[in-house]
Symmetry: C3
């Protein structure tokens, strides 16, 4: 599910590879954590998280998640939060190379990276959870606030829309655009520039600056897991999600 | 003092109508609260707060407020903070349609709405309290910080100037400009877009994102009512305010 | 080390004058504090902090600081934090007129002023501490967050680069550009505009808006003095700093 590629300077690319759309299910969450652990154990100095050309990730695998009962859903979210905490607390820099579309859960992963390079093109991303009847958990709201500010986060989340990449750049949801096939290359260049700095100072400064992001996960109670799982199983939410899945099943 | 107009989709417009300049006095504060209560009781799904063409509100009714004694002034501010809290805690979205000039108190009302549409033209708005010898209460400072950031709030408040609408857009004090007679129409379009989302998710996300704004009013002590009332009656402030009223009384 | 010049309206300019590069050493820190105290005692209504044409300050005097032992270094940082606290808590407005280059420590001083005017030209500034193996103390990180936001502060600090003045303007690190010989004049104009406001309201509003900046110094423990001094004497940092000094000594 994760293809690992070694680049120069100890930079390791972890490419999401769960056809057809890199949808995030329990297995992908565990595989990505394991790949991060392995890369760091092997001495990686920076990570790039990428997808396939034209698609980083379609977000959560709603059809599969709808088959889970309340215990299963709770376990999934605990693991998904664990992955986000792993990204937020990473001891080495992580760049998200958004190689194409990256809605909802795809955008969420990128929020917790150090930096976001987005492939140019007719792609969309954004936290459109409201549109499918979901309320983002507080920790994801806070990560967005940290990135783009309190009020812009409110407007983006309440609107519930995916947005074009140029708009995402203006909003601060991504940091730079790349020609469609150059997102990984530009992510590599970012890593190389930062790895050229004195490592002890770069890493300690990074830790200082990201302490608030890592700190979001310090209190497990604050994750409000129960509220999200409860919301998932509310009749109105289930109805909206099932309608979404029915639309996905329709041909073309 | 408030004209209520039903639009489609359960959107209710509350139009300030206290000639000649929609100045905010104790009666207007009570009338606006009552109109909000009534609209919600009647099932409104979103509110638009508007003024007359060319003027949203001239701000506080300083000539009338100068006739109040310390008890009267304290009561007024308690009610005015009550109105701001009502806006901040509104269970349904509120758009401010700034139909023209909107200095000081007019801008303050708009700060606590969800969104601000400003009529284009030679209009001015902004928190120019310093210019008339006043210090904005902490809760208004905090609402501005939330909207435009800490440092930009400092620069805007300390400068004490009203600014043109284009500058207000750049600053983030307003969200969009409209042709002079289209502010309400654009506010309606914003409401319609948001009411088209699954209501439970849109409203709960809105509550999550605005919890910090609503929370400003949780501790009545933090409103620092005494300090503001004390400042109002300081000789230097009274002198500046009376000079302002004298200028307003001069012809032309 | 500090040239004091009286301008009109009670505005006092304090010009750094420690040839050749206005490097910040223990004596300069004490001299600047003393000059601020004197100006205020003499009734100054606003201060301008300037340098010489083409150079505001080259930052900390690393060659001299490297001769200090741990006690001496601790004393220096205590005094330097004292100066930053003095700037943050100043009862009157302070404008930094950045008359040229202003890297690292030069930028740090400016962070705690009310406003920053930068001379145009091929000048550079920024918090490039990482590049020389240092980690900025938390209080400087927080002052930067306050000015430009959480995420932009992270990116700027971790990158460890000095940036051109136009980029600094986009980032919010400075507030306006001036023709090379007009930085002090534009700083004067800013002071005059603000001194034209009712003083009691302008000063009290300034205090309200800057309370968070002043508050950074309320808890001496939070300054984390020991961590910074410890970091300074780590072998990797000392090696990077000594290599820097060797480069500075080379001709041309």
């Amino acid at each position: 599910m994760i293809d690992t590629q070694q680049h120069s300077d100890g930079i390791v690319e972890l490419r999401l590879n769960r056809p057809p759309v890199n949808a995030i299910n329990p297995d992908l969450v565990m595989a990505l954590q394991a790949a991060m652990d392995q890369a760091e154990a092997d001495g990686a100095r920076a990570l790039i998280l990428s997808g396939r050309p034209g698609l980083f990730s379609a977000g959560l695998d709603v059809p599969e998640l709808l088959t889970l009962d309340e215990v299963g859903m709770r376990d999934f979210w605990k693991d998904f939060f664990g992955l986000l905490a792993r990204l937020a607390r990473s001891p080495i820099p992580i760049v998200a190379a958004l190689t194409g579309h990256s809605p909802a859960g795809g955008t969420v992963l990128a929020l917790f990276a150090d930096y976001r390079v987005q492939a140019q093109g007719n792609f969309r991303l954004g936290l459109n959870e409201v549109q499918v009847g979901l309320v983002v958990p507080p920790v994801i709201h806070q990560a967005l606030v940290r990135l783009i500010g309190n009020y812009r986060a409110e407007r983006h989340l309440v609107a519930g829309q995916m947005i074009p990449v140029e708009e995402a750049l203006d909003l601060g949801l991504i940091d730079e655009l790349a020609p469609p096939d150059q997102a990984v290359e530009q992510a590599l260049a970012w890593c190389q520039r930062h790895l050229a700095m004195p490592a002890h100072a770069m890493l300690a400064t990074r830790q200082l600056c990201r302490a608030d992001l890592a700190g979001l996960f310090d209190d497990p109670e604050a994750l409000d897991l129960d509220a999200f799982v409860h919301g998932w199983f509310e009749p109105a939410t289930q109805k909206t999600l099932k309608a979404l899945v029915d639309r996905l099943k329709q041909p073309g």
